[in-house]
């Protein structure tokens, strides 16, 4: 379990800063507007940014 957590954290750290931050803020339950403010993006872009971030994270977690 601890191993999984470490792998997840390591994968998050390998992401571009904005993607990593978006995922961390989202999982902390931060409101969309606040996430956008942190990332300096417009609210219309958040959904796609999170989707890209999740895909990048998935790719990192499954890298051999």
């Amino acid at each position: 379990m601890a191993h999984d957590v470490d792998a997840y954290e390591a994968a998050l750290r390998r992401l571009p800063e904005a993607h990593s931050l978006a995922l961390r803020l989202r999982s902390a339950g931060v409101a969309d507007e606040v996430v956008c403010e942190y990332l300096h993006i417009e609210t219309e872009g958040l959904e796609t940014l999170l989707r890209v971030a999740e895909q990048k994270l998935h790719a990192e977690l499954h890298k051999r």
Binding site: R14, P16, E17, A18, H19, E44, G45, T48, R51, V52
Partner: protein
């Protein structure tokens, strides 16, 4: 500078690839990000992907050089650059989105924030109509035209915020670009400086390679020595470009001042080897498109850096070289855009040329860029241009609502002896400018009086066209029409013909003949489309009058159809056309009881015209007030009414009855029905004294809706004078109301609904409900009540008649009105003031009302009236 491999963008490319699949919810993707993050590169990859999938691809670039030229970014797609702006835009759209064998098209718009307004409109239309999939790039934090911003704000394009690469991706890119491993120290220094910005990294590597500070050693790249380098990407780009050989720098600068620049001009002006060198270094890119192959800079930052650093003298000289080449009769690339030529000329070291500037001013006006047209006309005048430039500048100043400057120019112009038709054009423009932007109808009249005294032959017909306008807007429709009929319209060019059509439309509409004169109006509009004098705006104003005449006459399907057509054509055209199309659509929506749309569009128009002095905000403010009041928002309506009064414009006399009626609707929304009735009667009286028969009908219909039972006689008279369905229905309604004939009222309600006036239909049904109740016909009363409720709910309206019908209490109209005001929280003193009655009378009404319904206090009376109000299910 060789292209580097695309790194770290797999997921982003997937998002874009998704947009290229059929049946997508979005029309494409907007790639947003900071300078140098890789937006253009990603867009190029998308273009290659689309081409692989069999799509036809188009590339459009927004540039600083073309931003001030209407349609500048799309010029390469325009066969011709003159004529009606909508036709011009339509042709460009058709060419951009056409493809061999009907293959789907991808349009890539790089740096969309730098598009000129008309090109933004083209882009917006392409997306809206789904004529092609669009991928646009925008730099974050930089302002973009509204039509571009709306693409993602309104959900037409998916927004992809492109982020800098991660540390790992940046390292991988370095490894790949240098074709070998990089030392950890080198990679770390590069990362600290560039933070995943690809362009920055690329520029840095190039610079350090050339300086031989990035060197291979023991199978790894190392960064050696100390580096003189700035911390900013812009400085680095500047250093890199500044270090290129002189001839190559000249190529970059030539492209920067006129991007996109036709290769034919560049070849004529620069050394061929230098052009090839610039392309090899990635500083310029050549696109082989028809009819001309064009050259762009390798990255938008190169242009920004050079325009900031090259020095004005150098840039002026280069613009002059291009303009001279472009202005030659045998210019190597065709067609030459007169606006582009003049904008280059204006900022060059060439001697100002009045003809070049005048032609450009006319073209800019036709492309709806009135500010630019005014600047170019002023430049033409400064260069010694003649009457054409002066008239155009006068027209532009008036259109921009810069009345005082317009009067300075036109006052001097009309004091000179001028040939025809320039003299009558100048006189009319001056009178027009005095009437609208300056709001001085008396002065305007004097100008025409004076001119008519001096005019003869065709000139007098041209000047009379404006006299007809003055009379029409002063609410003298019969006199105006008489003048219209005396004018030989074959003597009129587009602008005076449109003025005549406006006067005729207003007069015929007011007199009650909304369907007459349409052929001439259509002919004048056709003339305007091809007019060299920028009559386009006047053509839209004519549509305002046409729509209004149709509404007043009750020809509502025709009004809606005209308004809808206009809205579709102009609602995203930049500038005044957009505002007017909103207003026209809002007026039609109000007439058929689509109150949400009416409030939104009229509100937009009033806001858009707020800083102009030509009366537009007052004109459409009247309709806006009525829309708010009819929707029951008494507070907003009261505020808008006060604003309307502040915007009151002395030239809009012909709308005085509408203005009074709007006030009546506000009174009704505030529960003051008898005050509303008095105002509606006042409106009718005003219209009657001016012979505005059709507007008198509208005002009397308003009075009926507020419960006036004494309009039947006058409406029967008006039915003999006025055409259109409204007057006949209003006359039948008035007769049925005074006879308390429920069946006839119900029939009128049905016919009003067929006509399209759904709020009036609801009110007639509400009157029928009461009439049936009074005769104890409960079944028909229920039917009529349900009908009123359905219509009023559909429209989202609140009216006194509907309120009364929904309250089956045995109260008189006056008792009901007082009960409603008590429920609004007014004291007896306040009610007495509102209804101009004594407090004792109010108390008497309250006492009798309480006795009738068997309650004891005014509070109980207020509770009862609220309980039976429409919408609470008790009706």
């Amino acid at each position: 500078m060789q292209a580097w491999p695309l790194t770290g963008r797999v997921e982003e490319l997937e998002v874009i690839a998704g947009a290229l699949c059929p049946d997508q919810p979005h029309g494409g993707v907007v790639i947003a990000g900071s300078a140098g993050v890789g937006k253009t590169r990603l867009a190029r990859e998308a273009m290659a992907l689309a081409a692989e999938r069999g799509r036809a691809v188009r590339w459009i670039t927004g540039t600083a050089a073309a931003q001030s030229i209407p349609l500048g970014a799309c010029a390469q797609w325009a066969d011709r650059l003159d004529g009606d702006p909508l036709q011009l835009v339509g042709n460009v759209m058709a060419k951009v989105t056409a493809s061999p064998n009907g293959a789907p098209v991808l349009v890539v718009v790089d740096d969309a924030r730098l598009l000129d307004n008309l090109s933004s409109f083209v882009l917006h239309q392409i997306v809206l109509r789904r004529a092609a999939t669009v991928i646009a790039t925008v730099r974050t934090g930089a302002p973009a035209p509204d039509a571009v911003t709306a693409l993602w704000k309104d959900g037409h394009l998916r927004r992809l915020d492109l982020q800098p690469l991660s540390h790992g991706e940046s390292d991988a890119l370095l490894h790949s670009a240098l074709d070998g491993p990089v030392s950890a120290a080198c990679a770390e220094r590069m990362w600290r400086l560039t933070r995943g910005n690809v362009l920055f990294l690329h520029q840095l590597v190039n610079q350090e390679m050339q300086a031989r500070r990035l060197v291979p050693h023991d199978g790894e790249w190392h960064w050696v020595g100390t580096m003189e380098m700035s911390q900013s990407l812009v400085d680095l780009v500047d250093l890199r470009i500044g270090a290129t050989p002189g001839p190559v720098l000249e190529v970059i600068d030539l492209v920067a001042v006129a991007e996109p620049l036709e290769l034919a001009y560049l070849t004529a002006l620069a050394d061929a080897a230098a052009i090839e060198d610039a392309e090899r270094r990635g500083l310029i890119m050549v696109s082989r498109t028809r009819p001309n192959t064009v050259v762009r800079l390798g990255h938008p930052l190169y242009g920004e850096v050079r325009l900031a650093q090259a020095g004005n003298l150098r840039l002026s000289r280069l613009r002059g070289r291009i303009a001279r080449e472009m202005g030659r009769p045998s210019a190597p690339a065709r067609p030459v855009d007169p606006v582009r030529l003049a904008v280059l000329w204006l900022q060059s070291d060439l001697t100002p040329d009045p003809d070049v500037f005048t032609r450009a001013a006319q073209a800019a006006f036709r492309r709806l860029d009135v500010e630019l047209a005014e600047r170019l006309a002023a430049a033409a005048m400064a260069a010694g241009a003649g009457l054409d430039a002066e008239l155009l500048r006068g027209n532009a100043l008036m259109t921009l609502s810069r009345g005082a400057e317009g009067e300075d120019l036109l006052g001097v112009l009309t004091s000179r002896p001028l040939p025809e038709p320039a003299w009558s054009a100048a006189v009319n423009l001056r009178a027009d400018n005095l009437l609208w932007p300056l709001g001085q109808p008396e002065q305007s009249r004097k100008v025409i009086d004076h001119a008519l005294a001096a005019a003869s032959g065709p000139a007098s017909h041209r000047v009379l066209a404006f006299r007809a306008v003055q009379l029409a807007v002063e609410a003298h429709p019969a006199e105006a029409l008489k003048i219209c009929e005396s004018i030989d319209s074959s003597q009129l060019a587009a602008l005076p013909a449109l003025k005549l059509a406006c006067a005729q439309t207003i007069s015929l509409g007011d007199l009650g003949h909304p369907l007459q004169g349409r052929t001439f109006a259509e002919e004048a509009t056709r003339l305007a489309a091809a007019s060299p004098e920028g009559a386009f705006f006047q053509a839209i104003i004519l549509v305002v009058y046409q729509t209004q005449a149709l509404i007043v006459g009750g020809c509502l399907p025709e009004a809606v159809s005209l308004a809808e057509r206009t809205y579709q054509q102009y609602s995203v055209v930049p500038g005044a056309a957009q505002i007017f199309s909103n207003a026209i659509s809002g007026m039609a929506a109000l007439a058929v009881g689509e109150l949400d749309t009416a409030v939104e569009r009229l509100g937009n128009a009033v806001m858009g015209l707020g800083d102009r002095t030509d009366g537009g905000a007052y004109h459409f403010g009247i309709d806006y007030v009525e829309a708010l009041a009819r929707s029951g928002d008494a507070e907003a309506a009261t505020e808008a009414l006060a604003q309307m009064e502040r915007n009151r414009h002395p030239a809009h006399v012909y709308r005085e009855s509408d203005s009074l009626l709007a006030g009546a609707w506000v009174s009704a929304a505030r529960g003051r029905t008898s005050q509303a009735r008095d105002l509606a009667r006042e409106a009718a009286e005003f219209a009657r004294t001016r012979g505005q028969h059709a507007r008198e009908v509208v005002s009397l219909q308003g009075a009926i809706q507020f419960g006036d039972q004494h309009t039947a006689g006058r409406l029967a008279e008006l039915a003999e004078l006025v055409d259109g369905p409204r007057v006949r229905l209003a006359a039948r309604w008035a007769a049925a109301l005074s006879g308390r004939d429920g069946d006839a009222l119900l029939t009128v309600s049905r016919d009003l609904e067929v006509m399209g006036d759904r709020i009036a239909a609801a009110d007639a049904a509400a009157h029928a409900t009461r009439a049936f109740h009074q005769r104890n016909r409960r079944g028909p009363a229920l039917t009529a009540s349900a009908r009123a409720d359905r219509l009023i709910t559909d429209c989202g309206a609140t009216t006194p008649a509907a309120r009364a019908a929904a309250t089956p209490l045995p109260l008189t109209n006056r008792e009901r009105e007082i009960a409603v005001l008590i429920s609004h929280g007014l004291s007896n003193i306040e009610i007495a003031q509102a209804l101009t009655l004594s407090v004792r009378t109010i108390e008497g009404h309250i006492y009798r009302a309480c006795t009738r319904v068997g309650i004891a206090t005014r509070t109980e009376l207020a509770g009862l009236i609220t309980q039976f109000a429409p919408g609470n299910g008790s009706a």
